[in-house]
Symmetry: C2
Subunit: 129 residues, 2 copies
């Protein structure tokens, strides 16, 4: 069994920023975070330190301002979160999750088109709709 990645909501926010920006200092992460929520600087610092202890983040201590990097891939993390949702919320049915994600205008028509193409690749439609 591969290790379970289970970031909390706050941790996920930080991972998102690091996946987006790449290696960053606490200050850099905090400045992005501030735009959407209000938390003190040391709160962000503490969170990232904890994430480092959990090995969710790597860090480079050679400079005064430590530089943190995500130590789990976005793909793999997304995969585990989706799998968990399929199991816990959709009783193991991936298709039910997909349909829920496609309903209610959650996806634009452009996105729907993307998905159609993707589907044809992994499961070509013999009739060619």
């Amino acid at each position: 069994m591969t290790e379970q990645i289970k970031p909390t909501d706050s941790e996920l926010e930080i991972l998102n920023i690091l996946w987006d920006k790449g290696p960053s200092t606490v200050r850099e992460v905090h400045e992005v975070l501030e735009q959407s929520k209000d938390a003190g600087y040391t709160t962000t610092l503490k969170l990232m330190q904890i994430m480092h202890e959990k090995t969710l983040l790597k860090r480079d201590v050679s400079n005064k301002s430590h530089v943190y990097t995500a130590n789990v891939s976005q793909e793999k993390t997304q995969g585990q979160l989706v799998k968990r949702m399929i199991d816990n919320v959709f009783n193991g049915s991936a298709s039910q999750l997909v349909m829920q994600a496609l309903g209610n205008n959650k996806a634009s028509s452009q996105e729907l088109e993307e998905i159609r193409k993707y589907l044809e690749n992994i499961h070509p439609n013999p009739k060619g709709s």
Copy 2:
């Protein structure tokens, strides 16, 4: 804005049982729960009482053993959880979630077929571009 349904993991387990079995007593829920985890009876009771306070559950007190029912629909709850995942994990892209859910053999070929049919039936509302 509609009320936010945000069940915890434990609460979701209970909701799943109630959605599946319909109105049930604490004992009935607990017996199902026991099969997959080990927790004491009063733990289940307390959880369901809290869920009732939060109005996640309704209850009928006319008998000695109270009968609980889910007070949120499975559809709506699933929808909100999926939307939250799209926002927090996939930066708002439903298609990315879908592709993640379809990759890595998370869906059987039968499921893929279901999804393909579902997609053909969708009449996309052109709001995104």
